[in-house]
Amino acid sequence: MMTKDTKDPSSSPTQGFKGDASDAIGSQLKQYYKSVEQEPVPDHLLDLLEKLDQAERSGGSNGTA
């Protein structure tokens, strides 16, 4: 059976991006994306993850203790 992990070298994501000399668009896109990545993740999202984790640790599959 086919595995979906098969790497097809002809479809590497770098193709058509990094290889392109005139690729201002590719680099602007990366820059833009990176600028958003570098914004601090809002506290409420971090808190949410923390709460979910806490709830699971204290309750978990044993029910609330």
Partner: protein
């Protein structure tokens, strides 16, 4: 995908939850950047990420350790985005909100005006093209991964990326060469995205 795991003891669960949380934390900045790219607005993006975190957490049993956590999260977020769009009907694009986000455009982060220009152009792409070019060109996914995330064939992703690039090229050329003025078709869009020009 939705295979239930059975017979895992509690200590294994704790360890797994811990790394699950850590991996999720590590993926958040990129996931959020994808959400902003997709929804075009920071407020919507943060709602999307929140929704995604909750969904992912509730179905973490369906995540197969060792597989790509980022791709898994991106898929959830992407599906959430489109189902929100369907739920809300086509009330989007909500030009006022988009306009506000672009104005508020967090200039300290974008640094150069160029990036705000770029966001303006990116925001004008159809959703499917914007999604494709971001997944491939910025999020760092392979075509196969992007295709799986978007639920389409690899060839479809490739052609969307190509169309997106051509459209961006066109939009950025127009807005960059102000001496020539925007063309008739894109002028209203360009003027809305970049007021005062």
């Amino acid at each position: 995908m939705a295979r239930l795991e059975t017979g895992i003891d509690d200590s294994a669960n704790v360890t797994k939850a811990f790394s699950f949380k850590r991996e999720m934390l590590a993926a958040l900045p990129s996931l959020r950047a994808f959400a902003v790219s997709l929804s075009r607005r920071h407020d919507r993006a943060d709602d999307l990420v929140q929704e995604t975190v909750m969904k992912a957490w509730s179905k973490q049993e369906s995540f197969q350790p060792g597989t790509n956590m980022r791709a898994w999260l991106f898929t959830i977020l992407r599906n959430e985005f489109y189902s929100q769009m369907r739920r809300k009907g086509r009330e989007l694009p909500d030009p006022d909100g988009l306009f506000a986000d672009n104005l508020a455009s967090h200039p300290e982060q974008y640094g150069k005006m160029d990036l705000a220009d770029f966001k303006g152009a990116l925001d004008q792409l159809p959703d499917d093209q914007r999604e494709a070019i971001v997944l491939i060109g910025a999020s760092g996914f392979a075509y196969e991964e992007a295709a799986a995330i978007a639920g389409v064939a690899v060839g479809t992703i490739k052609s969307r990326v190509n169309r997106a690039r051509m459209k961006l090229q066109e939009l950025l050329t127009v807005s960059g060469e102000s001496d020539y003025g925007p063309d008739g078709t894109s002028a209203p869009l360009v003027n809305r995205a970049f007021p005062g020009r």
